[in-house]
Each structure stands twice: as C-alpha cells, then as structure tokens.
Amino acid sequence: MPKVQSKNKWMPFLVPFFSVLVSLIIAAIIILLLGKNPLTAYAEMFKGAFGSRLSWADNITKMTSLLLTGLAVGFGFRAGVFNIGAEGQMAVGGIMATFVGINMGNVPAVIAIPLTMMAGILGGAVWASIAGILKAKTGAHEVISTIMLNWVAYHLSNYVVSGPLAVGQGVPKSPEIAQSAQLPPLLTVQASNVPSGILVAIVAAFVVYIVLQKTTVGYELKAVGYNPYAAEYGGISISKNIVLTMAISGGLAGLAGAIEVMCVYHRIFGAFTGSRGFDGITIALIGQNNPIGIIFSSFLISSLRSGSNAMQSVGIPDDIVTIIQGIIIFFVAANRIIKMWIMKFSKPVKGGELE
C-alpha cells in the first residue's frame, strides 16, 4: 500500500496545527449552541492558561507530568509498542519513589534526590517490562496486558496508602517524603510552586530525542517498530528490544510518578495519577511521537486544562476540553483529511502534494 507521503516539509507541523484549529472551531460551535459566546470563552481560557503568574505556575505544574507520560507513550509508539499502561507505571513509579523518599531522612539531597528518582524510574520500568516480557515471550498483546496492569497498579496503590504506608486518620495517604528527597521549587508564586520537575522533564525529552536519533539503541528500537522482520534479519533481537522499549517507556512514566511525588504532593494517595497516563496517549499522538513535538503538545494540553478551569466561570463545562482533545486526535488519525484541506487552501502556493 503506497503511503501518503508529503513532500512539504512543513506538513508534520501543519497537520497538528490544523487539527487543533479545526477542533477549536468545532468546540466553538458547540459553545455557541450552548448559547455562550465562544470568544469570551476562549479569552477566559487564554487568561486561565497565561493570564497571570499563577496561571503559568499552574500550567507548568500540569505540563510536567503530561510531558513525561507523553514521552513514555510516544517512545513506545516509535518502537511499535502501544503502551496504554503509562497510568499504572506512573502509579508504581510514584509508590516506589515514596517508599524510598520517606526513608531519606538522614541522607543529603544530592544523594536522596537521584535515588528517589531512580526508584520511580525503576518501578515504572519493571512494571512495564512485565507487559514487554509477555509480548516478547508469548505474543500477548500489550494493549490488553498493560490495561490489566493498570488495574492491578490501581488496586495496589490504594492498598499501599491504606495499608503499609497509611498515616493519619482522615486521609488515605502515605507520610511525606523526607525534605532532602523533595525537589526544590523553581519559583514560588503565592502558594503555587513552579516545580523544578519541568527541567527534569525537558531534559528527559532531549535525552529521549538523542537516544532515538543518535544512538544505536534508537536505531534498533525504531527498526523493530517499523519492520520487525527486517530488524531481525539485521541481527537485531526483537524480543530484547520490545522489553527494552517497554522498560524505557515505563521508566519515563515512572519518572512522571516520581516527579509528581517529589515536586508536587511530596506523598502519594490513592489514584494520584489522575489519568495522566492516559493523557499521555493524546499528547504523544498530537506530538507525532517526536520528543520535541511532545514538549509542545504537552504544553498545549496543559494550557487547555488550566484554561478550562477558568472557563467554568463563564459557565462552560470543562469537558469541552476533553472533546477538543478527542477531535484533535481524531484528525491526527484522519490526517489525510487535514492534508487535503491544507492542499486546497495552499493550491496557489503549490507546496505539498499527495504521492
């Protein structure tokens, strides 16, 4: 089947851009149907996302974990693995980071911080590897196994905060991790911290980029993702790379959990992942599984989220943002529709063309 290839090198940017535009237009129509003014709604949303230092802080806090889960899912996609399990891996990462973090009382921060972070990464990696090993050894579809592992992680994290790690009477939660294991805030805006986790996340994005683009590991992982037969023929072990992919992907999700613990909550409680593992799918798809693209798409989604809170004040349910996300991904899937539209608009310019 000939692939639709575009000669226009801007296409990778134009498609998500137009997808977002189209979904905003569709959402505007919905808002209009509600009898509200979409312009005020969007203005409010914009203010909520960028209007003040506080909204920026909020925005960046949200972006941090979204960026990491987006990277996790996107990395998997690049290697041909559909990791729906970022949610569970993030939870396990958070649990592990907490386990280590609460025991870091007498350990200096230079050691405590990396150790806690590593625990999170490792937790996520191991959790994801279960699905990886099942896929490599028995062919179990990772979509199913990671979903099951999500449930197991969910029940497990509820168990941990109400059993072994439970503290206090009111709240099912773990104790706070040691001061030395907490990541210091970059900036404090009133009670909101701009978490330094964002730096870790952005570094992670660049590391992922380099791994994918510049290393033999990336060469092999992508080869397996694109064409496992050819990879095997080229002496690349498929099962090893599937497990490795899952481990790295899960490690990133685990890091999301660890950062969340170390920067934002300083502890865990049941279901603290708040479905950001699933949001990672959205973000990876919008960012076209490119680590740098994912930085932008996570920022887009976090802005939509922060903005949606503000939209409430003009009486628009924030579920509109979920709808917008859905439509964006829909057009990412049906990118040919968007390409056709772009082409129609840019006829005179004669840029891209279908092959």
């Binding site: 290393t215 033999t216 694109y226 050819a230 095997e232 002496g235």
Partner: protein
C-alpha cells in the same frame, strides 16, 4: 497495423487506445489489443512493460485514463471486477488472489455464492467445483484450506474461480512462473481443453518457448506501448526477444573458468521445522568451497526458504551440524553469523531486508549499524554512515542518487539495489542469495548476475537459491535439487537437461532418472 472498425465483432476483446497514467508512470500509452474469439493470445514484454496494468483495466481493477474497451464486439464500461465478471471476463492474477484460511470451495464461490434461503449452500458449491474440475481435468481438493495446498493446486483453484463465474475470456497473468515443468505441461493441457471448449485466453509469460508452444497470436509490449503483433507461425523466439527489449539480447551469462578453493561451508544432516512445526528440511548435506556457486533448484515450498533462514540464523536448526571454516556455528544467532561475514540477500527483500521508513543511509548499514565506524560507544556516527552510503549509491547506481531519501520511496528495482549493494559490499566470505532477480528487468538482471559472478571471482562462497531454472543453470558451478526437504541429487549444470531437473524437482531421485533415460537435450541446446 490499425484495423477498420468493422472487424470489432470478430474480437472477443478489443482494447482501443488505452492509456493509463499512474501518478509518476505512464504505464500504458495508447495501447491497442485485439484478441480473437477462441484463441490463446499471448501478451509478452519486459518487467514493467505494462502488461498487468493493461489486464487490470480489462478486469476493472484500474480505470483507464483514456481509451475504449470492447468485449464481444460491444463497447463496455468496466467499473469494477463485478462488471468484468458479468461480461464473462475472468482473471488469474500474477499474485494469487486467494483467501488463505478459507477452503477451496469457499474461495471459488466467494462473491457469487449459491444460496439456500439466506444461507450458503456449500453442498451445491462443492458439487459445482467438482463438476468443473472433472470437466477440465483441474484436480483440486474441495475442502482443503488454501494455506494447506501446494501452489500448483492454488493455480488450478484460480482457474476454477473464473470458470465458476462463467468466464468466456480468461486472463492468465504469468500462470507458469511458479510451476514445475510438469505442472506447466498440465496447465497447457488445461488451456487447450478450454480453447477447444470455445473459451478465449490471454496468456502472459516471460518464457518465450512457452509462448511459442501454446499461443496462436502474440502481442508484444515495451515501455507501456505495443511494439508488435504477430502470428505464432510467423515468428521465432529471437525475434520476440528483440521486439521485447528493443535490442539484441544476450541471455547467457559469461562465466569465466575458475577452480574453487578450499572447503568453507559444510552442512551435515540438517533438520529444520517450519512455522507449523513440521519438519521441512529433512537431513540435508552439502559443502561449498571458496569461489564456488552452489545452486539450489526446486519448487517453492520444498524447504528452500526454511533452509536459507536456518543458515542465516533466522530459524532454529533442530538437528545437524553447520560448519564454517571448520567451526560449528549451528547455534549462532543472526548477529553472530553476520560477524562471521556471512551475509544474506533474502527472497522477499521488501519485507525482510530493508526498513522502508528509514533513509537509504540507514538501510545501507543495517546489520553493521552497531559497529565501527558507523557507531562509537553506542552513538551513531552519521558522517561515516553518510559517506558509506554515498559510495554505495554511486557504485551501484541507485537512482535517484540521494542517500537521504526514504528507501520506501524508491522504485522496486532501486530498493533491491540498496539491499544487494549492502550485502555484497559488506565483505562477505559466504553469501546466501535467494531469488536474486525476482521482479527485476533484463538490464538489472544482467547487472545482478555479474555481481554474483564477481563475488565468485573474489573467492566468496555463494549459495544461490532460485526458482528460475535458467538462472540456476547458468550461474552455478554445482546444483542440488530439493524436494520435500531432501536433496534429490547433485548435478553439474553442463551435464544436465532442464527436463531432468524438472523430474528431480517433482521428487525423482537423480539415479532413477539416469537409469530410465536415453535421449537428453542439454541445457542451452534450445537457445
């Protein structure tokens, strides 16, 4: 050679001024094809000449860019296979169009199923298939699944499919390409029966002696145009070849004399299982010396693919020994074998040997991507990679000469060049080559054949697996014939006839053949 319109009625098929423009290729340019009722009409031409494309338009799979089609003298508009079927056209495609996990009967009736109420009437279906197969001698196992039956039978199923739909005009696109000489005889018999029954047949083949033997009229195509139309009585193979290629063709490979060196590869009692865990290679022995080409002939599905996969580490060797330079390597994996300088050109190069999404420069290092100078401490060295790729692109004339283009965007022939150039220049000591010229046109074939000979001259041991008997015969120093996972015999190409090899390919041991034989026509005698 334009004919007055009046004659339209005499033709079963008249395709007039057919032009088919693909986005980048003009596949048919004002093609005229006239096929008389009740004849076997051969359509020949180089790879990519546009034969399949022309037939696909007749069958409604493509729509002509311009031109008219007349069937039985009637102007028709064919919007899909359904229309073609209604007009009595049936097509057996170059690549079989069968649903693997359905039975023969189910495949035959698909799309025009006999019904009983709202249900399938499978009983009736089976009866009709049986009736057709009896009538034309097309023996098939009605209830077998397609994936379980041999290609020859699949071919017959394809023919029954067309007859079941009441086809009066049959298009057979390279029906003989995958068959043994005996099976070819059978199918010719069937074709003759069909003709006697009043059916019209369009027969596409690259094998000129076949064309000469079976057809009545011949249309020759080249570069999307018709270059000639002749009656079989007025022509000969040489003339046809020239019409096809547009120049004098040298069909023989020039193979210099060479004495093979020391023994390099040794296989002892090798057993391999296929995907269904059945023994497919059953106790094979052979040796290859340096600078020697060992050819393996045989009908597809007799264990050659599994043998190749076993020797390249892609499939587990169940039993037996595999020696390379006296070293036992049967447990080596793909990477370890590659590190021994054993390389491999697989038969399905598009699926197995390249990553379509990768740019050429990445594909040019596949298998060596982790080694210096392409990688250093886990980091890819893009400069070195590009340099290597550029050299190969230039030396092997890959077009367009651009290393950064995604390999999947190259034409088929050029994609193959990427693979061949990489494997040939990876410094092999032992190279395993499967179906080296599959899908290539004459020019490219010449080129690949020369490369193989060059490897031999450089003292590389070559294992050549090909279904093209001519190719095996002309390139190999020695030939072994495989049947059902075993070796039927080893012969030297200059001492054997195509017929003998054909007999071996269908399960006759060499020694039995030699006994029952007196006259033999040596290979090359028919050229």
């Amino acid at each position: 050679m334009s004919q007055p319109e009046v004659n339209i009625k005499d033709y079963a098929i008249y395709m007039k001024d057919i032009t088919k423009q693909f986005p980048k290729v003009l596949a048919n340019n004002k093609v005229n094809l006239k096929v008389k009722k009740g004849e076997i009409h051969a359509l020949i031409g180089e790879n990519g000449a546009g034969k399949s494309t022309l037939m696909n338009q007749l069958y409604g799979l493509y729509k002509p860019t311009s031109g008219e089609i007349y069937i039985m003298g009637e102007k028709v508009e064919i919007n899909g296979p359904k229309d073609a079927i209604l007009k009595g056209v049936g097509m057996v495609h170059q690549h079989f169009m069968l649903v693997d996990n359905l039975t023969v009967a189910e495949n035959v009736i698909l799309g025009s199923e006999p019904k009983k109420g709202i249900s399938l009437n499978l009983k009736k279906a089976r009866e009709e298939v049986k009736k057709l197969s009896d009538r034309y001698g097309l023996y098939v196992d009605v209830d077998a699944k397609i994936e379980d039956i041999p290609v020859g039978m699949q071919q017959r199923v394809e023919i029954i499919k067309t007859l079941y739909r009441g086809a009066e005009i049959l298009i057979l696109d390279e029906p003989t390409a995958v068959l043994t000489p005996q099976e070819i005889e059978d199918i010719f018999e069937i074709m003759n029966k069909l003709r006697d029954d009043g059916k019209t047949i369009i027969f596409i083949s690259h094998k000129l002696h076949e064309v000469m033997k079976i057809s009545d009229n011949i249309t020759v195509m080249r570069l999307g145009e018709v270059t000639g139309h002749v009656n079989v009585k007025d022509t000969n193979e040489k003339q046809l070849a020239n019409m096809m290629v547009g120049r004098e063709v040298v069909l023989r490979v020039d193979k210099p004399e060479k004495t093979p060196g020391e023994k390099l590869v040794k296989i002892e009692n090798l057993w391999v299982k296929d995907n269904r865990h059945l023994d497919t290679v059953r106790g094979i022995n052979f040796e290859i010396k340096k600078g020697e080409i060992l050819g393996i002939a045989g009908v597809a599905g007799n264990g050659q693919s599994e043998l190749v996969e076993a020797l390249t580490g892609l499939r587990k060797i169940e039993k037996g020994n595999y020696y390379f330079k006296e070293k036992e390597i049967s447990k080596y994996n793909v990477r370890e074998l590659r590190e021994e300088n054993i390389t491999h050109i697989p038969e399905d190069r598009f699926k197995y040997a390249m990553i379509q999404e990768y740019p050429n420069y990445y594909n040019m290092i596949l298998g060596k991507h982790y080694l210096e100078p392409f990688a250093y401490r886990g980091f890819l060295q893009h400069e070195n990679i590009l340099k290597r790729s550029e050299t190969l692109v230039k030396n092997f004339d890959v077009r367009p000469a651009d290393s950064t283009i995604a390999t999947g965007n190259l034409s088929g022939g050029n994609q193959q060049k990427v693979v061949i150039s990489r494997e040939v220049s990876a410094g092999p000591e032992f190279i395993i080559i499967a179906q080296p010229t599959r899908g290539l046109d004459v020019g490219a074939i010449e080129y690949v054949h020369n490369e193989i000979i060059n490897l031999r001259q450089k003292d590389v041991a070559v294992l050549l697996v090909s279904m093209e008997l001519e190719e095996v015969l002309s390139l190999s120093d020695r030939i072994i014939v495989m049947y059902e996972g075993q070796i039927m015999g080893e012969v030297k190409p200059e001492e054997v006839s195509i017929e003998e090899i054909g007999l071996m390919m269908t399960g006759n041991k060499l020694k039995d053949i030699k006994l029952s034989e007196d006259t033999k026509s040596h290979h090359g005698g028919d050229k």
